[in-house]
């Protein structure tokens, strides 16, 4: 029996920033990123909780730009890769190019599963830049396994290397989860 390889992508420095109104400082980031790198995290997500371009009245301006925070993380890690998040409609290709310059090497494009086509241009750009493009696809219950698999195929064809099934509504327990897994295997 082969042991599956598990990679940890830690989101403390991205998702965690919601709890403090996106007021992470470069110093906070250096401290946490260095510890995560030392603990063997494969990748570290860094930035505004709502992703690139989210510094706004709507989502909170926070204290520092994603570029500053990503550069701070990149400066202290020796092995871990730095990841950024992009919600199409909020973040844009310009934002992605800018954080690539700052050192981000994984791009997770997040959309509702019914709207994956709005993120294809960002997945393609991430690939062109030499980043690893991933899709973070939410609310799978809106579609069900078969249509979700079709949406996953669309992002995979655009270059996405990994499709997360992100159960943001908390519906995939028991049998629905089984069906999703089955459709993915096939």
């Amino acid at each position: 029996m082969t042991v599956p390889r598990i990679r940890i992508l830690d989101t403390t420095l991205r998702d965690g920033s919601h709890a403090i109104a996106h007021r992470l400082t470069p110093e906070n980031v250096r401290h946490v990123a260095a510890a995560l790198d030392g603990a063997g995290a494969w990748a570290i997500a860094v930035g505004h909780g709502d992703g690139l371009g989210a510094r706004s009245v709507q989502y909170g301006f926070g204290l520092h730009s994603d570029e500053e925070l990503i550069a701070a993380a990149g400066g202290v890690v020796s092995r871990a890769r730095i990841a950024t998040g992009l919600l199409p409609g909020i973040g844009t290709r310009r934002d992605l190019e800018s954080v690539y310059e700052a050192g981000a090497r994984i791009c997770r494009v997040s959309t509702l599963c019914t709207e994956v086509d709005i993120g294809l241009q960002h997945l393609r750009l991430a690939r062109e830049l030499g980043m690893e493009p991933y899709s973070h696809v939410t609310m799978p219950h809106l579609l069900g396994p078969r249509e979700f698999a079709e949406a996953a195929k669309l992002v995979a064809d655009a270059g996405s290397e990994c499709v997360y099934i992100v159960d943001t509504a908390g519906t995939l327990i028991g049998q629905p989860c089984f069906w999703f897994c089955l459709f993915f295997e096939n």
Binding site: G53, T92, R94, D117
Partner: protein
């Protein structure tokens, strides 16, 4: 001739209204549209919507910086397009701003019949927040597709202004 995005059609008049009575440091819009009313063109070029709408906010006299966000909402039944407009001012009188906003809404609603305030304008410190929605006429496209109707209505209005002749009823 090109018409700017539906989000800009609905929000630039509000920013312009505020800027007529106060200095505008920053303008931001959040447009929420029904998934079903966003066609493949918008979906494959969502950044272009964002860029064009933000740039149009910056064309308003005195608006220094613009930002635009678009959200596609798949809720059923579909929702009418809703726009939140944030205007960061430098000083200015809230009463005058409110008058100017209401006048702008009246003006736009003359050529976009379903254009209206979704709630009262809000004033906090120097941040003005305005919610506008656009219900479509429901002639051919469904009523929730106000984002499409506003384009048609704006095109008719531009044509009228261009020809200086009233459109046929």
């Amino acid at each position: 001739m090109n018409l700017i995005t539906c989000g800009a059609q609905a929000t630039v008049p509000i920013v312009a209204a505020v800027s007529s009575v106060a200095s505008v440091a920053y303008a931001e819009t959040v447009s929420t549209v029904a998934s079903r009313s966003a066609g493949p063109g918008t979906r494959q070029n969502i950044d272009e919507f964002t860029f064009a709408t933000a740039r149009s906010l910056e064309t308003v006299d005195g608006a220094v910086r613009g930002k635009s966000i678009i959200i596609l909402n798949p809720a059923e039944p579909p929702l009418v397009i809703r726009n939140t407009v944030y205007v960061q001012t430098l000083g200015g009188d809230p009463d005058k701003a409110e008058q100017a906003i209401r006048a702008a809404v009246d003006e736009v609603s003359r050529y976009v019949l379903g254009y209206r305030l979704a709630s009262e304008p809000q004033f906090r410190d120097e941040l003005v927040t305005v919610f506008v929605e656009v219900e479509g006429a429901g002639d051919y496209l469904p009523a929730y597709a106000g984002n499409l109707d506003i384009m048609t209505s704006a095109a008719v209005r531009v044509a009228e202004l261009d020809t200086k002749e009233p459109a046929m009823a």
